[in-house]
Amino acid sequence: MKLQPIFLIRFRSQDRRQDRNLKQTILSNHLLCLVILVLGFVIYWSISDSTKVFCGVQNGNCRFSVDSANLNNFDQIPYFRTKNQVDHPTKANLIKEEQDKENNSERGKSEKIEKSKSTSTENDLWWSFKKLQKPALPNLTKMSFPSDNPIDRFIQAKWQEKQLVGSPQADRLTLIRRLTFDLHGLPPTPEQIEQFLSDRSPDAYEQLVKRLLASPRYGEYWGQHWLDTVPYADTHGFDKDKRRDHAWKYRDYVIDSFNRDKPCADWIREQLAGDILFPQRRDAVIATGFITAGPWDFVGHVELREGTTEKEKTRVLDRDDMLANTISSFMSLTIHCARCHDHKFDPISQADYYQLQSVFAGVRRGERLVNAPMNDMILIRNKQREQLLEKELRILDQTVSAQVAPKVQELDKKIEKAREQWRQNSLFFSSTPSNSNGYHSLIHPSADHSCYVQIDLGKISAIDWIVLYPARPVDFPNTPGFGFPKRFRIDLSNDHDFKDSLCIVDYSKSDFINPQDRYVPIAGHQLKGRYLRITVNRLWNRKTSGIDDFCFALAEVEVLQNKTNLAAHTLVESSESIEAGLWSRKYLVDSATSRLKLNRNRLDNNFSELRENEKIWQQLHLFEKQKQEILVSAYDANTRQKKEKILQELIEIRKSKSSNNSDLYYGPIPLDKPRDIHILGRGEVSKKKSKVLPAGLDCLEGLSSNLMISDVNQEGQRRVALAKWISSQDNPLTWRSLANRVWFYHFGKGIVDSPNDFGHNGALPTHPELLDYLADELRTTQSLKKLHFLIVTSHTYRQISKNQDRNSQIDGDNRFLWRMNRKRLDAEQIRDAILLASGKMIFSGGGPGFALFQFKDDHSPTYDYSNPQFVDNPSTWRRSVYRFVVRSVTNPFLDTLDCADPNVSTPKRNQTLTALQALALLNDPFILKQAKYLEEKLKKDESDLKRQIEKLIYLILNRKATKEEVTELFSFTQKNGLANSARLLWNLNEFLFVD
C-alpha cells in the first residue's frame, strides 16, 4: 500500500472549540490520518497564532490551505514528501482568502508569486513546469511479461515497486473488439474479425493496428475527442441560439488532421494562426475555427448597444472563452482562474492572464471567407489604403467646398427650415400601439442591391395618394427612418409582372433624403392600376455593431382613394423578405406603423396636409440636389480629375472586399486594430487598471515569457507568436498534455487523471517518467499515429481486464494498470455501433451536419427533437460526429448516454448508469427503428431462424453465440420477432462494455 503523507497540526488559534472540532474531524473522518498516525509519521507544524491550517488528502497528494495574512512566513513552513511524490505545498498551494482587504491581499499575492518565481529552484518547481527531458528506461532485471516496448518497462517497474502482479494478454477476439472500438469508435465487422482470427503471421496484431490507423474511421473517432475538448458545436448557444452553418469546416479539418497524421506542432499552429502563417492553404485557414468554436452570446454581441458596460462585459467573457480554450486544450492549465484574482494554486498572476488575453484582443467571431485570408496582408493594406483615400477625399472636399461656402450655407439654412416645416404630423395616428413593425428585406453586404415589394389592390383603381411610413422598430436599436431606401421608384401596373407600367416617382438615380419619423406623401394624380410596386436599388445602412450591412424596410404603405386605404390588408408580394418576429410582408398593409395604429378618419377631405408635406419634401430634395450641384461645380478640371481618381480606386477596393462570398467558414475576424486590454480588478470592467500587451507565462522552465511579436499592432502577429510559443519544443506542458490525452482515451484513465489541469490543483502523474517518455516521443516524432501504435502494441494495453483480488486490495482503482480497464461505450459509439449492425450506416465523410431535430428559424430559433421522423431519416444514418450539434437544446438520447455538453470543455466524460439510460436504450425510437432494419437485413441474408439468431449475436456482441444462448433467444424470437431480440441485445452489459 502506498503510504500517504500524514500530518498532525498544532493549533494555537484563539478559538478552542474550533481546534477541537478540527482535530475531531481529522481523527474521526480521515481514517487515513489515523492509520498513518499509527505508522508513526508525525510532523509538527508550528506557525503563527492567527493562522488556521486546513489539510486534506487528494489523489495521494496532500493539500494544505492556510488562512492567514502572514504571508512572509510561508517559506519557513516545513513540509513533508514521500518518496516518488512531488508536491509543492509551500507556495502556490496556500489559499489566501481574498475577501478582505482586497488591495492588500492583491499586493500580497503578487509578492507571493514574485517570490515563488524568483526563488524557484529545480527542486521545488512544480512537476509539469519542469523542462521536458527524455527519461532513462527503468532498469529491470526480470520482467514478468517480457517485452521490448518501453511502456511495459515503466509499467512493470511500478508493479514491482507496488508488489502488483500483471495480467496475461487477452485473446484475439477480445483484442479486436477493444482495439476497433478504441481506434474507430465502432465494433469490428465480421470480415475484420475473420481476417484477424485467421491471420497466423507473428505480427498479425501489429498489422491489424496499422490497418485500423490507416482507415478514415480513425479520424472520425479521435476527432470527436478533440471536439469535446474544444468544445465544438454548430450553434452559438445562449438565448437566441442561432445556427453556425459553416462551422462544420473546422470539424472536418480536425477529423482530416487526425487521419493525415498532421505533425503536431503544425496542427497547433494552424489552429491558432493558420490564416496568417499559411494563408495559401485552405485547411490551415479553416483550422482557426478552433479559436471561435466555443459559445457566443448573440444578444450581447449583436443586439446590445455599442458603448454600454454590458457590451464590454460580453467582450471580456468572449476573449476569456478563447483564451481558456486555448490554454486548457493545449497546455492543460486553468488560466481562467486568474481572471478575477491571482491564481490560487498556480503561479499565474492576473497580469499574466490579461497579457495572454490580449493575444485575442484583435479578433471577433463571425463568418469569414476561406480564401480572403489568403490575401489578409493585402486586406490590411487595402484597409489602410481605403482609410487614406477617404481622408484625402475629405480634405479635398473641404478645400473645394470652402470656395462655395456662402452659397452652401444659404442652402443649409433653407434645408433646415424645410425640415422643420415638414413636421412629424400626428394627423394619421391614433394612440393605440402597434404590435408589428412592417416589411423587411434580407440583409445584404453591399448597398447596391435591387429588390422590390408590391401590393395587389385587388382591382384596377384610380389613386389619389400613396403614403410611405418609415419604420422605427421597437425590438431593435431604436432608429428613426430604419431601412428607408436611399434609391427607389414606384410604379403602377395592371399586370402582375409589370410588363407594362406607369412610373409614379423615380428616385433610382439620385439619393432620397431619409425622412426619419416623418411620413412621405406622394400624389397619385388619379393614375390607374391594380398593382403598385416599390423597387429599391440602393439599400439603407444598418451599421450594427460597427459592421456595415444593408437592408430595406418600411413600416406601412397606404394607397388612398379619397379617404379609403385601398392597400389595407391586401396581398403583398416581394422579391425577398425576412419574415421573422415583428417583420412580415403582411405587416406592410396592416394599418399600423411600427409604433402606432393609423387613423385615417382625421384626414380632411382635400388632403391639404398631405399636399403641403409633399411640397416640403420635394423642396427639401431640390435644395439637397442644388447643394450637391454647387459642390460639384466648385471642382475645376484638375480637382475633379483628382477626385475621380480617388473615387475610382475606392470603388475597386470596396469591390474586392465584397467579391467571392461563397466559401465561408466560422472563424476569427480581425479587427482593424486590437482593442486595448487592461487588467481588471476582480475581473470587473469598471475597475480598469494598467494596460497590458501580450506575453507568455514566466513560470515554465526553459521557456521565456517573451512572445517575440514582430508587430503588436497587427493582431495576426499576436496569434502567430502565441502559436509558436505553445508549440515550441521547449514548452514543457504542451507535449505532456497531448501525450496524456492520448493515453487517457486508450486506458480510460490518464497518467494525469485531470487532462485539462496539470497545475497544483490537478492530479499528479501516476507514472511521471513514463509520461515524460511519451511526451518526448511525441515531440520528436510529431506523430500521433506513432504514439497510438506504441501504446496499443504494449503488453500493458493487451492485458485482460479481469479483476485480481490480491491486486485490487493494493490498487483498487487500477492506477498502476495491472489489468486493462473495462470501458463503457460512449454515446456516439453506441449510436454508431447500432447503425453499423443494422446495415444502415453510411460512411459519407463530412460536410454540413445532419439534423436530428426539426428546425424553425425565428427571433429565437427552435430545435425540436420530438419528431421521430428526423431520427428515422436516411440522411441521418451517418456517424454521430457529423451531426449538427446544438448548444441550447442538446440531443436528448445522446445526452442521457453521457455525451459531452457542447457548452463546456469536456476532456473526460462522465460515466453514469441510470434508469433513464435504461429507458432510452429500451424505448428510444432510434433503437426500435434500427432493430426493425436489422430484422429486415437478417431475413434477407438468412432464411433459417437459427442462423438469423446466430448472425444477430455475432453482429451485436462480435462473437459466436453459445448453444444455450441460441436456444434461449430462439424461443424469445419465435414469440416476439427478431427486432425485439435486437432490442434486447443492445441493452446487454456485454454490448455496452468492452473487456
Binding site: 500500500m1 487528494q58 450581447g300 421597437v474 427571433h859 448508469l913 429500451l922 416476439n976
Partner: protein, 493 residues
C-alpha cells in the same frame, strides 16, 4: 466522482474523494466499491449515510451539513423578466410623477432604448394580510398569500441580457455549461423516491425559455442529476418512458425482455466479478420498470376532486395549462421528487410568449400573470392544507426586473438593478420584506441580495452549506454559488 467533504463545518477539505478514503482505509474492496456505485446511482454526495429515503422515514430532515428545515423545492421561473414595479414593489413616487421625465440621478443604461417618462403601473395597489404587504391588482390570488411569503425586493443581477441573466439565476453562472440548482440539490441530497427522477422540469408549453434546456442541465455533474422534462399535455410526456405506440411492443414483450436481459446480464457478470458497474446497470433496469409504473400515476389527475381542479384554475382557459403543471407539481412532491422547476414563459419571440414586455406591459404582463397567479396561490394553499408546506421551499424568481420609466409609450425595458423574488414554506418566515429598492424601484438600495444569496439560502434550508457542496471540474472546485453567496438568515423562522 468527487465529493464534498464530510461533516464538520469548520474544516474544508477541498478534494477528497470518498473512493480514495474507502479504498485506502483498507476495507474489503468489492463491498465498498459496490456500495459506492449504488450510492452514486442514488445521486448522493454525502456518502453512505443518506440511504434511499422515503416519506415515511421520520428522520428525513437530517441534511448534508446541518439539520435541514425543508427537503423539497419548487422553483417558479418567470422567464423574460417579470416587472417588480407592476407586481410587488409598490412606489407612490411613480404614481405621483407619472408622465414626468425620469431622472433618478446617475447613469442610466437601458438595453434597447433611451429612458422614457416615469410610468406608473397600469394596475392599482392594495395592502393585504396581517403584514399589510402592498400587491398590485395584477396578482389578486398571490396577494392573499403574502403572510406566508418572504419578499426580496432588492435583488440585483450582473447582466441585463436575457441569456446570461437567466443562466445566472438558474445555474449561478453567466456562461453556459454549469449545472442547474436542481442538479446541485440532486447531487447533494440524492433522491427521496426510488421510482421517480430527483429533479423534474415543467417547461412552458409554448416552448423553452432563453438558453433552452441548458438552464437545467447537469453540466459537469453526472447525468442522473439533470432535470427530467415532463410535459403533461404533450404526446410524449416523458421521453422514452415507453416504447412508441406504433412499435407494437406491449407489456408482455417488455416483461419477457427484462427477464431474459437480467438472465444474460447475470451470466455475463459471473466471469467478471469485482466490477460493480455491471450490477449497478442491472439494477438500473429494475428502477426503470418502477418508474414506468409510478410516473403515469403521478401525472394522472383524473381522480383529483373537481373542487381541487377548480382551485388550480383547470376550468379556465387562461390558467388551465399552468394550473395543471402546479397540480402535477403537488403530486410529484407527494411522490418524493426533490426539486420541481416550473417555467412560466417561453422564448423572446413574437407575439410575446414570455414576460419580456418591451412594447406593452399591460397587455403582455396581463396575460402572463393571469396564467400563473391563481395556480401558484392554489399550490401554496394546497401544500399548506396538506401539511407539506413546512417541508417544501417555494421560490418565485425571474432573470431581472423592468424599468420604472416607459419604453415606447407602454412598455418597459430591462432593469438588472432591482427586481423581486419571494420565498415561502419550509423554514421561511412569512409576511416579511427583506431589503428595499429606492423610491423609483430603479435601484436596489437597502440589504441588496443576489441570486447567489438566494441559492445559498435555499441550500441552507435543505441542510447544505453552499460553500461545501463542491465538484472538481477542469481544475476548479465548482459550487452553485461560485465564490459568492451569503445565507439570508433574516428570512428564517
Amino acid at each position: 466522482m468527487r465529493i464534498s467533504p464530510i461533516s464538520d463545518q469548520s474544516v474544508s477539505v477541498p478534494d477528497l474523494t470518498r473512493r480514495d478514503l474507502l479504498l485506502r482505509s483498507g476495507g474489503g474492496l468489492g463491498a465498498i466499491a459496490l456500495a459506492w456505485l449504488l450510492n452514486q446511482e442514488e445521486g448522493n454526495a454525502n456518502g453512505l449515510q443518506d440511504k434511499v429515503e422515503t416519506r415515511n422515514n421520520k428522520q428525513q430532515n437530517r441534511g448534508l451539513h446541518h439539520k435541514a428545515r425543508a427537503k423539497q423545492v419548487v422553483q417558479f421561473f418567470m422567464s423574460g423578466a417579470a416587472s417588480q414595479c407592476d407586481t410587488f414593489d409598490y412606489k407612490p413616487e411613480l404614481i405621483k410623477n407619472h408622465g414626468k421625465p425620469f431622472n433618478p440621478g446617475g447613469k442610466i443604461e437601458l438595453f434597447q432604448s433611451s429612458p422614457g417618462a416615469v410610468m406608473k403601473s397600469p394596475w392599482q395597489w392594495k395592502q393585504y394580510g396581517k403584514s399589510g404587504k402592498w400587491v398590485s391588482d395584477l396578482l389578486p390570488h398571490l396577494a392573499t398569500c403574502v403572510d406566508d411569503m418572504a419578499f426580496l425586493p432588492a435583488m440585483k443581477s450582473k447582466s441585463n441580457v436575457h441569456g446570461p441573466a437567466t443562466f445566472l439565476q438558474a445555474t449561478g453562472f453567466v456562461m453556459p455549461g454549469f449545472p442547474g440548482m436542481g442538479a446541485w440539490v440532486s447531487y447533494g441530497l440524492g433522491r427521496l423516491s426510488d421510482n421517480l427522477p430527483t429533479f423534474v422540469v415543467l417547461p412552458d408549453s409554448r416552448g423553452f425559455a432563453p438558453n433552452g434546456p441548458a438552464n437545467w442541465s447537469n453540466g459537469f455533474l453526472p447525468a442522473q442529476h439533470q432535470g427530467t422534462i415532463v410535459r403533461p399535455t404533450a404526446k410524449v410526456p416523458i421521453l422514452d418512458l415507453y416504447p412508441p405506440f406504433d412499435s407494437g411492443i406491449d407489456r408482455s414483450i417488455d416483461q419477457q425482455t427484462q427477464e431474459l436481459l437480467a438472465k444474460w446480464n447475470l451470466r455475463h457478470q459471473q466471469s467478471r466479478e469485482g466490477d460493480s458497474r455491471l450490477s449497478a446497470r442491472i439494477s438500473s433496469y429494475e428502477l426503470a420498470a418502477k418508474m414506468q409504473i409510478a410516473a403515469p400515476e403521478v401525472m394522472d389527475i383524473s381522480k383529483e376532486p373537481a373542487s381541487v381542479k377548480k382551485e388550480y384554475g383547470l376550468d379556465q382557459k387562461e390558467t388551465e395549462e399552468f394550473g395543471r403543471n402546479c397540480l402535477i407539481t403537488r403530486r410529484l412532491l407527494q411522490h418524493g421528487v426533490r426539486f420541481v422547476q416550473l417555467w412560466c414563459g417561453a422564448d423572446n419571440g413574437f407575439p410575446r410568449r414570455n414576460w419580456d414586455s418591451h412594447e406593452n406591459i399591460e397587455r403582455d404582463h396581463g396575460i402572463m400573470a393571469k396564467s400563473m397567479d391563481q395556480p401558484i396561490a392554489a399550490l401554496l394553499q394546497d401544500l399548506k392544507r396538506l401539511g407539506m408546506l413546512n417541508d417544501t421551499v417555494l421560490h418565485w424568481t425571474t432573470e431581472f426586473g423592468r424599468m420604472p420609466c416607459s419604453q415606447g409609450s407602454l412598455g418597459r425595458d430591462h432593469n438588472p438593478d432591482t427586481f423581486t423574488n419571494w420565498l415561502a414554506g419550509g423554514g421561511i418566515k412569512g409576511g416579511i420584506v427583506h431589503g428595499s429598492s429606492d423610491d423609483w424601484s430603479f435601484r436596489a438600495e437597502d440589504k441588496i441580495t443576489t441570486g447567489y444569496d438566494v441559492h445559498a439560502t435555499i441550500l441552507w434550508l435543505l441542510g447544505i452549506d453552499h460553500t461545501k457542496l463542491t465538484f472538481r471540474h477542469n481544475g476548479i472546485d465548482r459550487r452553485l454559488t461560485d465564490v459568492h453567496g451569503e445565507v439570508i438568515e433574516e428570512l428564517f423562522t
